[in-house]
């Protein structure tokens, strides 16, 4: 037991020095330099609509330079993808084209020289460029391969205000050029999946991180995922997986996507259409807050329908998502202040809040899938925390020894915040106790030593 506790403690320390970014809701959270630490980085609503400039060249062209998707179609397609986010009825975020990209001849970014010029203006927050790399040559010049669908990045953000100041997006038109030639590594991607990929990137452009819901799709046939799982699968899920949503007549955005873009940028109708469930996740001791677990509010399934509403209507957050994953330490000499992002208020450790449409929900707590590290990160801890506790649901008599599948309904009205939905994880290890010991560990440790001694004697005697 003591060994496990030590492992957990050391693992926590390891994770605590290891991360710079956030997800499972916001992409990035303000840090100590901010007037209000522990807040999601967002675009300034006063600047809405977010004005993006757009490439004047074709979206896609063959290696021979023949246009496959012209500029007009590309511009309209990008506008539609931005509109997908903007059209969420409870969000205020909006985007508009500010015309062609500036700073390059004709507004057509064709070379790495052009890209360099455009990056300068993005870094200085002069424009938010959307670049069409029609034949993939810019990606190639940058040292990428043809597997990259698109990239997005925040060019500049103000750590004092927690505002995103500029961002960019680049689309790889080579994947839409109609050419499949393995000898030149020229691949194709179905148009609807390309659209999903770029719309996902626009989610990051807008300040959204990754979300984990219905993670079991990772174990399903990727061409034929369960429809209930797919319907609730966030577009901001870290991996491309499953058949396209459009092929199943499903909307591009899942309830989780819509809830979080609305949470970051609520409009006047938000309060009339969303409530909030919030609380803490605790170690089995019931008092020590636990960071880095996925918390999902799942709608109660309606037995009168053939669909599984608990899969389809689900919104998630990661416990401690507003707290830093790296508070700093002075031992190594390289990490004194820790991450410049993320709040330091201890009350944020293990805290979650989930925006949900009015309804009746269950709260489920689970691990972040171990696959979701680095570029696929979900939540503040990279890699995800190694949790030794079984996933479980919330019920009104939470304890460290309750039934993990026992769950009580939580009714949420519009505009209502339901607080104190606190989940105590099950298990025998009480907490990361920072060397404090209630005696339990000592007894367990003594038991281990005795067991070791007996085994040693047994091994010795059997060797005689």
């Amino acid at each position: 037991m003591k060994r496990t506790a030590l492992l957990l403690l050391c693992a926590l320390l390891a994770f605590a020095v290891g991360n710079l970014c956030y997800a499972g809701g916001p992409l990035q959270v303000s840090g100590p330099a901010a007037a209000q630490p522990g807040q999601p980085y967002v675009w300034d609503t006063a600047s809405f609509p977010v004005r993006y400039t757009i490439d004047s060249g074709p979206l896609s062209a063959t290696p021979e330079g023949v246009t496959v998707i012209n500029n007009q179609t590309g511009v309209a397609g990008v506008a539609a993808m931005f509109h997908t986010w903007q059209s969420v009825p409870t969000t205020s975020i909006s985007y508009t084209s500010a015309g062609p990209i500036t700073g390059v001849a004709g507004g057509d970014v064709k070379t790495i020289n052009d890209f360099n010029a455009v990056q300068a203006s993005c870094n200085s927050a002069a424009q938010n460029p959307v670049i069409f790399d029609a034949d993939g040559s810019i990606f190639s010049a940058l040292g990428f391969d043809s597997l990259t669908i698109g990239i997005s990045g925040i060019c500049s953000a103000n750590p004092a205000t927690g505002k995103i100041q500029s961002a960019f997006l680049m689309l790889n038109g080579e994947l839409q050029d109609g050419v499949t030639d393995p000898t030149t590594s020229n691949y194709e991607l179905a148009e609807d999946l390309f659209e999903e990929g770029i719309t996902h990137e626009i989610g990051h452009f807008s300040g959204l991180g990754h979300s984990q819901i219905n993670v079991e799709v990772l174990n399903q046939n990727p061409l034929n995922c369960n429809l209930d799982d797919l319907a609730g699968l966030p577009l901001m899920f870290p991996e491309i997986i499953c058949q396209s949503r459009s092929s199943e007549n499903l909307p591009l955005l899942a309830p989780d996507d819509m809830a979080w873009i609305s949470k970051l940028y609520p409009n006047a109708s938000y309060a009339a259409n969303y409530g909030t469930i919030r609380g803490y996740i605790y170690f089995p001791d019931g008092v020590t807050q636990l960071q880095g677990l996925n918390v999902i509010a799942r709608a109660m399934d309606n037995p009168a329908t053939t669909q599984d509403e608990s899969k389809r209507t689900a919104v998630s957050a990661v416990s401690g998502f507003l707290f830093t994953g790296n508070p700093g330490q002075s031992i190594s000499g390289t990490n004194t202040g820790g991450d410049s992002n993320g709040g330091r208020d201890p009350n944020l450790i293990g805290y979650y809040e989930i925006p949900v449409p009015p309804g009746t929900y269950n709260i489920q707590v689970e691990d972040i899938n171990s696959s979701f590290a680095s570029g696929s990160l979900v939540g503040p801890l990279d890699p995800p925390i190694l949790v030794l506790y079984p996933g479980e649901f919330w019920h009104q008599y939470e304890s460290s020894s309750d039934l993990t599948q026992q769950k009580d309904p939580i009714v949420v009205q519009a505009g209502q915040t339901v607080s104190n939905i606190n989940v105590i994880m099950n298990g025998n290890d009480p907490r990361f106790d920072n060397n404090e010991d209630d005696g339990h560990s000592l007894v367990t440790n003594l038991t281990n030593w005795i067991t070791d001694a007996i085994c040693a004697v047994c091994a010795w005697s059997s060797s005689l």
């Binding site: 020289n113 940058l142 990045g153």
Partner: protein, 199 residues
Amino acid sequence: MRVGAGLFLGLLGLLFGSAVSAQQGAYTLPASLDRLVTRSDQIIRGHVVSAVVEPHPQFPNLRTVVVTIRVDRTLKGAAESTVTFRQFLWDARDVANAGGYGKTDEYLLFLNPVSKYGLTSPVGLEQGRFRVRRDAKGNVSAMNGHGNVGLFTNVSAKLAAQRIAVSSGTQAMLQSPQGGAAPLAALEEAIQALETARP
């Protein structure tokens, strides 16, 4: 003994856990191990000696990280004791953490051909960058930034079609349907087999 092992593991965790997330904001097609091997110009395993963020010398508005690796093993490409490469960083968060290349970190890297502007990156970005982890029991594993999801798709079939045999341990790894850390030795055996299978 148990406590000592636990502490040791924990310290290892502390060291390896200092890796930071990297290359956010990219959406890539899934790449199997076969595709990673085929697409890469160089496959190396080694430790990060340095990772320095600096502007591209020719394109000063492009932020890059110059990574030097002390090579322990070369699985594809010219064998060199150290390899230095320059990778483009497009997100401010990656600039802050040198693209996630921490000093002394151990990686297995599938690197794209270097462009004429001196830039390269792992194939499929995070998919071609495997973090090597060693535990106190001497187990060594590797996992890429996509958690090895889909990594072994069709690899067994390709090797079987070309009558290339691998050890039972490697075969078992290739049959595992899910992601998760892979034993380094088996992974490297599979890489060599796929390299042999290339036309």
